[in-house]
Assembly symmetry: C2
Homo-oligomer: 356 residues x 2
C-alpha cells in the first residue's frame, strides 16, 4: 500500500529545509519506499495566498495523509495580524487539533560529535538522552473560555487551563509505554502545590502507575524541573507534562544540547498518524540565506519512517547517514566549531544524500 506523505514547508527557513527533506524522500523512493509525496501551504505563506493559515484544502490533504512533514511556521511579517485566528501559529495549532495529534514526542539528545556545542559543561551533557512527552491538543492552548473583554471598567485577558481525566490518561499511557521502551524512568511534571488542574494530573498518573510496574514514576514541580534541567539534565529519562509546561521545558531541554538544529519531533494521534517537524522554529532572521541547518528536518523524515510508516531500517539508514556526515566534520553555521567545515543548507543536504 502506498503511503501518502504531505510536505508542508511553511515559513521562514521552512521551505529551504523542506527542500532537503523532499530530496531525501525521493532517495527513499528510489531505495524502494512506497510513498506518494504531496505539498501544501500552511502558516504565513498560506495566509498570504488564501487569507487563512490553514486552508481547507491543506486540512483535507493532511487528513488523507499517513504522515505529515512540517518545516516551521511564523515570523515578524505576520505579527501584526490583529485577528489571532489568522496568525501562522493557528495553522499549526489547527493541524494538531483537527488531526487529534495529542502525543508530542520531543527527544533532546546530544550527538557525541557536537558535545562542545552545548552551553553546559561537557561532563553534564555527555550522553544526554531525554524524551519529553508533551500533551499537545489540550490544556491552556485550547481551553475555553478565553479572550479579552471589558470587566469593571477595564479590559481583562483570560485563558483556561483545563484537562479531563481521559485526556491525562491518554498522554500518560503514551509516556509510560515510552518509558518501558527506554530506561524505565518517568518523571511527571506539574504544579500540584498551586494548580488544581495539575492535582488531577498527578492523581491520574499515580492511578496508571500500577499498570506499568516496570516503570519508576516520580513527580516534580515545573519550577524545579526547569532548574534540574539546567543543573543535572542526565537525571531524566522520560518526562511527561501538559501542553504549556511541555512547550517551555522541551525548548529548554533541546537547547541543552546546543544543537537544536539537529532535533526532530513527532506529534501522534490515536491511530498512529503523525506530524513530524524540527524542534526549532522558522528562524526568519536567517531565512533565504541557504545557511539553515536541514538536519532536524531530515531526521524528522527518519522519525516519520519509524513511528508512522514502520520502516525502521530506512529510518536507521538516514540516521547513520547524518552520523557519517557529522563524523566527516561537516557543519552548518549553527553547530560549527573549530576544526570543522562550515557548509550551506544545500551542501549539507548533498552530503547526507551522498552518505545515504
Amino acid at each position: 500500500m502506498t503511503h501518502k506523505v504531505l510536505l508542508l514547508p511553511g515559513d521562514g527557513i521552512g521551505p529551504e529545509i523542506a527542500a532537503q527533506a523532499a530530496r531525501l524522500l525521493k532517495a527513499c523512493q528510489e531505495a524502494g519506499l512506497d510513498i506518494d509525496v504531496e505539498e501544501a501551504l500552511v502558516g504565513g505563506s498560506a495566509y498570504d495566498v488564501h487569507g487563512e493559515p490553514l486552508p481547507a484544502e491543506t486540512l483535507e490533504k493532511a487528513k488523507a495523509a499517513s504522515a505529515i512533514l512540517l518545516g516551521a511556521v511564523g515570523g515578524p511579517k505576520w505579527d501584526k495580524i490583529e485577528d489571532l485566528s489568522k496568525r501562522p501559529e493557528k495553522g499549526l495549532l489547527g493541524l494538531r487539533k483537527n488531526l487529534g495529534l495529542f502525543g508530542n514526542l520531543r527527544p533532546a539528545m546530544l550527538y557525541p560529535q557536537l558535545a562542545s556545542a552545548s552551553s553546559l559543561k561537557p561532563e553534564l551533557v555527555a550522553g544526554l538522552d531525554i524524551m519529553i512527552v508533551r500533551e499537545l491538543t489540550g490544556g491552556i492552548y485550547f481551553g475555553q473560555p478565553r479572550g479579552i473583554e471589558e470587566r469593571n471598567g477595564e479590559r481583562v485577558g483570560f485563558n483556561t487551563y483545563i484537562y479531563s481525566e481521559s485526556e491525562i490518561e491518554r498522554i500518560g499511557r503514551v509516556a509510560f509505554e515510552m518509558a518501558q521502551k527506554r530506561g524505565g524512568k518517568l518523571c511527571s511534571v506539574d504544579k500540584a502545590n498551586v494548580l488544581e488542574v495539575t492535582i488531577l494530573w498527578r492523581e491520574v498518573m499515580e492511578r496508571l502507575a500500577p499498570e506499568y510496574p516496570d516503570v519508576e514514576l516520580s513527580h516534580m514541580y515545573v519550577d524545579n524541573a526547569a532548574m534540574q534541567l539546567v543543573r543535572a539534565p542526565k537525571q531524566f529519562d522520560v518526562v511527561v507534562t501538559g501542553n504549556m509546561f511541555g512547550d517551555i521545558l522541551s525548548d529548554a531541554a533541546a537547547m541543552l544540547t546546543g544543537s537544536i538544529g539537529m532535533l526532530p519531533s513527532a506529534s501522534l494521534n490515536e491511530s498512529g498518524q503523525g506530524m513530524y517537524e524540527p524542534c526549532h522554529g522558522s528562524a526568519p532572521d536567517i531565512a533565504g540565506q541557504n545557511i539553515a541547518n536541514p538536519l532536524a528536518m531530515m531526521l524528522s523524515v527518519a522519525m516519520m519512517l519509524r513511528y508512522s510508516l514502520n520502516e525502521t531500517a530506512m529510518a536507521e539508514r538516514i540516521e547513520a547517514a547524518v552520523g557519517a556526515v557529522l563524523d566527516d566534520g561537516l557543519r552548518t553555521a549553527d553547530i560549527a566549531s573549530e576544526g570543522t567545515r562550515c557548509v550551506s543548507t544545500v551542501e549539507m543536504g548533498d552530503a547526507v544524500l551522498a552518505a545515504f
Copy 2:
C-alpha cells in the same frame, strides 16, 4: 521611628537559616539600626500547631510589620494534606495576596568567587546579572474559576489565567523603573502567539514604553526565553513576566548561577512594604543537619534594608561581609569546590558576623 521586622522561619531548613538571619539582625541593632524583631509561624509548622498554614495571628503581625523575612515553606510531611487550602504553600500565597505583594524581584547574579559552581561554561555566565520581575498576586495562581469537578461523566481540573490592564500596568512600571536604574534593557516575556491574556500583557507593556524613553523594551515568547536563558543568559538585563512564567524562569535563571543558595528575593507592595526570602526552597532532604547555606537568607536581610528600610549603608555592609567570607574560601556544601573550606550553617553565620 522603630521599624517592625517579622521573622517567619517556616519549614525544612527555614528555621536553621532564619536563626542566622536573627543573629545578623541583632548585630545590625547593635550597630545602631532601630528595629524591633518578632517571630511567628507560617507554612507546615503553623499547620502542625494551629491547623492553618497562615494563622490569623501571623497575618496580623505581618500586616503590622514594615518588612517580613521568610525562610521557606513546604515539605513531604504535608504533601498528603488533601485540602489544598491547608497546604504550607498556601501560607506563602496567603501572605503575598493579603499584603498585596505584587512585585517580586528575583536577581540572578553570579558571585565571581563562585564562577565554577555554574553548570554552564564559565565564559557564558561570568558577570551574569539578571533581574527577573515577576507579577506575584495575580495570573493563574489566583484566577477564578478553579477546581476539580465532574463534567460529562468524568472529572476535569481547571484553572484560570487572568490579568487586568491595571495589574499589568502596575508590574510593568516596577520593571521599567528597575530597568532605568540598571542597564536600560527590559524584556517582557509572554506567549502572545497563543494566549489572549498575554496579548493584553504585551499591549500594555507597549503602551507604557513611551513613558520610559531611556528603556529599550523587547518581547520574547516564554519557550524562547527558556532557551535563551540556557544559551546566552547575559543577553538579559531586566525580565518582566507573569506569575507562572516568572516562577519557572526565575528558578531556571537562579540555577544558571549554580549557587541558588546565595540568592535573595523581594516581594513588594504599593507602599514599599516587603517580604524577603531566599530563592531556594525548604530543602527538606537536608533539614536539621546544620549544612544548609544561610547566605541567601542573610542577603535577604540586606535586600530588606535596601528596599523597605532605606538603610543602604547597612545593606552594603552585609553584602561586603558575605563577599569577604567567600574571598576567604569558606563554603557551605552546596557551593563547595576544590581548594575551599567546607563549613556548617552556623559556622557560615559566625564568619559573616565576624566580617560584618
